[in-house]
Amino acid sequence: MTSSPPLPAVAEPVEEAELLSHEVVPLRHPWRWVATAVALVLLAQAVHALVTNSAFQWAAFGYWFFRPVVLDGLWLTLQLTGLAAVFGLLGGIVLALMRLSRNPVLRAVAWGYIWLFRSIPLIVLLLFLANVTALYSTLSLGIPFGPSFVEFSANDLLSFYFVAVLGLSLNEAAYAAEIVRSGIISVDQGQLEAAAALGLPKSRQYRRIILPQATRAIIPSYANQLIGLLKGTSVVYITSLLELFGVVQTQASVNSGQIIPLLVVGTIWYIILTSLLSVVQYYLERHFSRGALRTVPPTPFQRLRASLRTVGVAR
């Protein structure tokens, strides 16, 4: 092992010992620093313009940001988003399983539902539901086409809150169904075969083998969908429900000259909620990448700490 082959000829003969003794100088990236500097200057200018432009009325912004009326609107936005997300996802899972079932009637029904509710604009659906009294004066619970046991006047039942949750959930389920289905069909066919060969019951195959793997593919698209829903709840203001956007709108109309700070208040709240969702998405994705990657990448905090450590060492 001691008789190493001679080094390939380089321009000048080099001592092997010399090569071995040198450290490698990392490649420098001067343009990265230039780009960073330009970006920082532009950012500083933008912040400066935002802060110093009197049209934004930052004092008024501070006044409105935690106003109870705004917080009530925010709370309603959260409720509508949460309920529609839960019902929409549950409905979506059922619809996706129906579309993938071997029963042609179930497949057709699910397909028809998705087709219909993806075709109707949400705002139109909400107006339909809010005016359902005009379409059906009573709703009854009983045997289909047979005698009914309970009757509701549509007016009592369909409060605007109920209409909003129902409309958002019906709409959400149609989109969630396709997202869930795309996740399920992305799971390798071999997984189903292996589960079947082991004799796992169908329900267990789905719960334990298919859905956990599908979830990894579902999360990014569903997070997108949820962020859309969060902002989409603002259309319920047409049913005169005062969620975040509704509050901004009505307060702006009764407090003249306050529209810009109120819009900024609304925008910042939406940004905060979206950011929270993005963080949750990040950690969920990490959780469900278990086994899919050889090593799970570090979280941003771990990466930040690591890079601070390297900078410290470099100095």
Partner: protein, 252 residues
């Protein structure tokens, strides 16, 4: 020796293409039966018919004397319920060419999944799984995820998983074909150990050396028909049919 698997008059077509053409096949209990033949000759289809992953168009399969996937009632064969079929499959181990381990479950979770589902208490299932992992030489890998293992290690986990329910019979579909050449040996060693312990096995394989040394019975399949079968010395070393000789000649 009694018959562990009996296949009679098996016919399977995809469209106009007859993939299995009146196949009669027997695998004896406690023996290793090797199925060899060119690619596309219907080896996988025959193997998958045995645990009803691939239902036959006509003909039938029995394992330990029990009809698979169907039952005889008033002179006709009726398909069994999904549950009953799944229960039958849990007595038949199956090892796939490309492992098909569950990537989101650890090695141990992969092995105990089927026993737990069947109601084996967890501590017992775990103890049994650990024994099996020792047997396939992976006792240190219980906590690893499949993608962290080499192909040979993954296939050995798949074998442990197939054995976890203590099946009457284990089917192997080209268990070493997806492996790098230097990893084939470690998987074949496990198969040899199983054979020596008297496990009933049906193995589709291109490893003629393995079939010659380990199999008790070799079946040569070509274009959906069994061309010849018998002890390995006869079929592999002194084949009667030109078709068999031609196939074996290409492998060497």
């Amino acid at each position: 020796m009694t018959a562990a698997v009996v296949v009679r008059g098996a016919v399977k077509s995809y469209g106009a293409h007859r993939v299995l053409d009146e196949v009669d096949f027997i695998a004896r209990a406690g023996e290793v039966t090797a199925i060899v033949g060119p690619s596309g000759s219907g080896k996988s289809t025959l193997l998958r018919a045995i645990n009803y992953l691939e239902p036959l168009d006509s003909g039938y399969v029995t394992v330990q004397g029990e009809l698979i996937g169907v039952r005889l009632h008033r002179g006709r064969l009726h398909q069994l319920s999904e549950r009953a079929i799944l229960r039958q499959r849990s007595r038949i181990g199956f090892v796939f060419q490309n492992f098909n381990l569950f990537p989101h479950l650890s090695v141990l979770e992969n092995v105990i999944e089927a026993p737990i589902t069947k109601g084996v208490p967890k501590p017992q299932a775990v103890a049994r799984a650990q024994e099996l992992l020792v047997k396939v030489g992976l006792k240190d890998k219980a906590g690893a995820y499949p993608r962290q293992l080499s192909g040979g290690q993954q296939q050995r986990v798949a074998i442990a998983r197939a054995l976890a329910l203590e099946p009457d019979l284990v089917l192997f579909d080209e268990p070493t074909s997806a492996l790098d050449p230097e990893l084939v040996g470690e998987v074949l060693t496990v198969l040899r150990d199983l054979a020596a312990a008297g496990t009933t096995m049906v193995v589709v394989t291109h490893e003629i050396g393995f079939a010659r040394d380990v199999a008790d019975h070799v079946v040569f399949l070509d274009a959906g028909r069994i061309v010849e079968q018998g002890p390995p010395r006869q079929v592999l070393l002194a084949p009667e049919h030109a078709r068999t000789r031609e196939f074996l000649g290409k492998l060497v």
